[in-house]
Structure formats: C-alpha cells, structure tokens
Amino acid sequence: MSNNDRYLTFALGKGRLANKTLSLLEQIGITCEEMKDKDSRKLIFVNEEQKLRFFLAKGPDVPTYVEYGVADIGVVGKDTILEEQRRAYEVLDLGFGKCRMCVCGPASAKDLLQHHEMIRVASKYPNIAKDYFYNKKFQTVDIIKLNGSVELGPIVGLSDVIVDIVETGSTLRENGLEVLEEVCPLSARMIVNQVSMKLEAERIRKLICDLKSVI
C-alpha cells in the first residue's frame, strides 16, 4: 500500500519536551519553520514538503491522541505513559528529560514502608502509585490524588508519603523530605499508534532508525 499523500502527524507534549524533540528532529533533517514563530496562535503546524503535521498537547493527552490514531506519533514522558495506560507502541527512549519516579517523605516515614501496614499516599499519579504499592510491594494503601505541589502532603499531614517525579531533589530537601524508595527511572519516549506502525511501516521505521543514530 503506498500512501505518499498521507500526512504523518506528531503530537508533542507542551513545553521543554516539545522543544527538545524539535531540535532532535532537526538533527535528522525534519524541520517545522512554522513552529519557531513564538507569536503564532496556530494549533497545527504543517511541513508540506515532507508531509508532516505537528501539534502541541497537554502531556497526559498525548497518549490519548495516539491511541485513537489522530496522531501517528507522540512524544511524552514515561510517567505519562505509565499513568494513562493507553494502547500504543513505545518504540524509542529519546534519552532526554531523565528523572525518577520515587516514593518520598520525611525520614521518619521510612519505617512505614517496611511493613504491610495501611498508609496514606498522595500523588499526581494515582495509577503508578497504586501499581507500585499493590503489585510490587503488596502493601495496601489509601491513595489521595493531588494536582500539584504534592510535597505539601506529608508536611501538612494529609498523607504519610508521596509518589512523585524527582529530578534534582532540591525541592524535597528544602522541605525536609527525602527519597525513600525508587519506583522507576523516567525519560522522554516516542510512542506510535498501532495501526500507523503497520500502514506507515517504512516511513516510521526510517524515522526510528534515523533518530537512533543521533541519540
């Protein structure tokens, strides 16, 4: 099946991730001049020559766009992939945006993780937290979903520990918290829709190959 006239659509997580992805793509000759215009209010950017389309989306929505096939390819953090549990092929570790998902809390909370006692866990990532405690540690926990500043949880006494992304750990230290356990390492990943992987096999395979050579 040849489909030279079909656009390949990228969904990129807004922010740093998108910028780094674009500079990586530039290294393999894929550019999108339209996107460099910071004043543009456009939502979709097109490279007519290479038949590519790009759009920016909120990180957690990227796997959704890819699962439904409205984007063929997405770039998003591993944390989002784990949390959203969408069906898509995870084909490439792009190597940037490296950080860790960790259980954090005051040093005194360390003991609470040694026994199977019921504790309270605050997190922006309830699915990841649940999977870690239920399926890896076999500990029954109460999960409280928060939407930001999760570090507040143990400080104000809402929860015993938190599950959150740790990059440098400075926010934690400033608030008297520390990493208690590591859940998993994280980085930016490229995901591909299952149907696109089959129907656009050649274009996507070439893209993956090219990217591998520059990572």
Partner: protein
C-alpha cells in the same frame, strides 16, 4: 418531565436511521461471506455462568465483566466475547465429532471498560470459529490459510480495499524463551514489552536477567521483525532452536498458500505480534486499515481452549468488531447513498380498504411500503418534508377519487410536484 430518562448510560448508545442501515448492510455482507465458506450461524445466550469467562478461559479481566447473581446465588456474566461460549457449545453438543465444525456468529458483547476513555461498553462482534479437524502440522497450515483467506474475503466483501493483515506466531517467542531458560514471570514481562514494541524495555529485562548476549539477540531483534515475508528469512538467521524454526516454517507455508490464493497483497508479518494472554497457541493475526486507531479484525489459533470444556480439539477463529469497521469505512467514505428504500402511502379516510390493497400490490412488486391515514389539517407538503426527514424514497397519495400522485423523494432537487400520476385501477384493477 425528568430529562434524565432521555439519556443512555455512558458506553452504550442508540443506533437508528441511516447509520443502522449501514451497520446492518455491513453485518449482512460479513455473515453472507461466512456462510458462503460453509460456516454455520450459532446463537449463544447473552449471559452465562461466570466460570465460562473466567481467568483460565477468557481474555477479559474479571473486573471488566458485567457480573450479577441469579436467584440461587450463582454468579453470572454478560458475554465479553463469543469464543468461550462457542467452545462450550462445541464441547457440549459435538463431543464425539472429530471432523471440523465451522461456526459463525454475530451479536452484541459487553465489557465494563474504564469511564471517560471514549470506549463503548456494548459492541457488536461478528466472527467465525473453526473447531476440530486435522491436528497434524499440515492440517493446521491448511486450516490457518483457509481461515485467513476467509478473513481477507470478508473484509473485501464489506467493501474495504486498503487493509493489511499482520500475522505472527507465538511459537517463535516461546521457542526463544525456552532456549534462553526464562522463568515464567520474566517471560510474561518480556512478552508484554514486545507486544508494546518497546525495544528498550525488552533490553532492560533481558540484561537484568543475565542471559548471555548471543541468546539475547533474538529477543532484542523481535521488536523489529515485521514487514513482508522477507522478515521471516531475516528471522531464520537469528535462531537455532527447533520450536522457533518450526514456527517460522509454519508461517512460510501459510504465506505461500495465501500467495497462491491471491491474498498476498493484504498479508504481512510481525514476529513481535504477541498477545498479553497465554491464550493463543499458534498463529495470531490482526487486520488494520486507515481511519480507526485499532485493529478491525483479530484472531488466532487456540488449541488448548476446548480442553477447558473437556473436548480435545484444535481451534482457530477471528472476530471483527463491527462498530470499528463501520467507523473506518465511514472515514474512508466507502458508503454511497445509503438511503432507506422505504415508500410511504398516505390515503384519504374513505379509501382505507383500497389503500391496503394498493400497498399489497406495491409490495408484490418488491417495494417496502408503509401505509398511513392522511391526517386532517396536514398539507401534502408536510408529508413531503416528513419523507425527507425520514429517508423515504417515494410518497404515494391515494385520494378519495382514486387518483395517486407519486412524489419522488430520492430526487435531490425537488420541486414539490408529483413525478407520476397513477390511478388506483393501475394497481389493484377494477
């Protein structure tokens, strides 16, 4: 009035009008193709004992089944798919039969999926199961190729032309795992990463397990072994164990048969195509097309399923999620002018008896005719507009003097005038 009664719950919906026409047409085309290959229709209950769909047999997680109790306290479940029910039927009614049984089905299935993901909880599935028959390698190659030929034919009959069926064989990965001596838990984890095409995930798991590099290479390459039949030759160079080799030979044999059948254009291979479930025992396949984010046909061989019901027989089948196929065909604009072909005959009060006779005469000529008493205070134009709203093809108006002006509503540029004037005697004689 309570507006809540007008809503349907999340995940289920009404289908009506021309959308239902398209869906029924699609189902008819599929079922007709299944029938033309000798697959007999079978109907099973919408709900069964929970055990029929339990973890050991089914592929739907227990917490995604709709479960309830009967008066005696037995746990029942709405069917999440047809395969376990049909395996149960084959074991119950055809226990002694050792020649092949070919069944087809079409009906609604129910899975209690997560909210807010835009997924339907009630979907229509149409599919086939080929149970029993020759258990030898040659027998399985023949059955696999024939079922795949049916899959290609069914999608073509539905009206699809741009599609790819990707075929894998679980034997290939099983052979690799056995050779490398993977523990069952690790094998499951590796299988899941491979099914996500996550090369790095596979690499990480394999390196952690301490398997020597040479053996590991087969696993690492697995996420890249997809495409046309040349990937099978490619794969051959990577392996030494007999089970994987056998799996490749099987795929090659199936491929050369399909080439001969003329299905080659629609066939590709994917050795990384594996199922999360330990359910399939041989080939498995998925068909893809543009316009929908998921497979439009899934199937494979599951030789151990029947033994769950006490019958030892090989089996292969596939299922088409009709709603997904429909939305793919809609976005590829493969339906043309799917209007309802229904005519409406309205008549003045004095003509009650004649109207029914006239309608019967039209039905004999092959038309589908609805009759309705001309409502007082309505204009003929009201009926014309009603006809357009409800996809009526022709409007007959039987007046009390025996004249029948006919309006053609299938005509896209209406001028509101009758296209024909019949007499009652033209239809029912004097």
């Amino acid at each position: 009035m309570d507006v809540k009664v007008l809503h349907t719950p999340e995940g289920v919906r009404d289908i009506y009008g021309d959308e239902l026409q398209k869906k029924l047409k699609l189902q008819t085309a599929l079922m007709k193709t299944f029938r033309s290959f000798g697959f007999q229709r079978i109907a099973t209950p919408v709900f069964e004992f929970f055990d029929v769909f339990s973890k050991e047999i089914g592929t739907t997680k227990s917490n995604e089944l709709y479960k309830f109790f009967d008066k005696e306290g037995n746990t029942l479940a709405l069917r999440p798919d047809f395969t376990p029910s049909i395996a149960r039927c084959a074991a119950k009614y055809y226990m002694e039969e050792d020649l092949p049984l070919a069944f087809s089905y079409c009906g609604n299935t129910f899975v209690n999926t997560t909210e807010l993901q835009g997924k339907l909880k009630e979907v229509t599935q149409a599919g086939v199961e080929l149970i029993g028959g020759d258990n030898s390698d040659a027998g399985k190659v023949a059955a696999d190729a024939n079922v795949l030929h049916l899959a290609v034919s069914a999608l073509k009959a539905a009206g699809l032309s741009d599609f790819q069926i990707s075929i894998g064989n679980v034997g290939f990965l099983k052979g690799l795992s056995k050779e490398a001596g993977l523990a069952p838990e690790l094998e499951d984890a590796v299988r899941e990463q491979i099914s996500n095409k996550n090369y790095f995930g596979v690499e990480e798991l394999i390196l952690e397990s301490g398997i020597d590099k040479e053996k590991a290479e087969g696993f690492m390459k697995l996420t890249e072994l997809y495409g046309d039949a040349s990937c099978l030759t490619e794969a051959e160079k990577l392996i030494t164990n007999e089970q994987s080799k056998k799996a490749l030979r099987h795929l090659q044999q199936v491929n050369s048969l399909l080439e001969e059948y003329g299905d080659g254009d629609h066939i590709s291979f994917d050795l990384g195509l594996v199922s999360k479930y330990n359910y399939y025992t041989g080939i498995l396949f998925k068909a893809y097309t543009y316009g929908v984010g998921d497979a439009i046909l899934k199937g494979g061989r599951y030789d151990s399923l029947l033994s769950c019901f006490g019958k030892d027989a090989p089996a292969i089948g596939f299922v088409i999620p009709v709603d997904d196929l429909l939305s793919a065909m809609n976005s590829q604009k493969l339906f043309h002018n799917e209007k309802q072909q229904i005519d409406l005959l309205v008549y003045d009060e004095a003509m009650q008896l004649e109207a029914v006779k006239a309608a019967d005469a039209l039905r004999k000529q092959g038309a589908d005719v609805m009759t309705s008493l001309y409502q007082k205070g309505k204009d003929i134009n009201d009926y014309v507009q009603y006809g357009y709203r409800n996809l009526i093809r022709k409007l007959y108006h039987l007046t009390s003097d025996g004249k029948i002006p006919v309006y053609d509503l299938a005509d896209d540029s209406p001028d509101g005038l009758p296209v024909d004037n019949l007499e009652l005697s033209d239809l029912i004689g004097k």
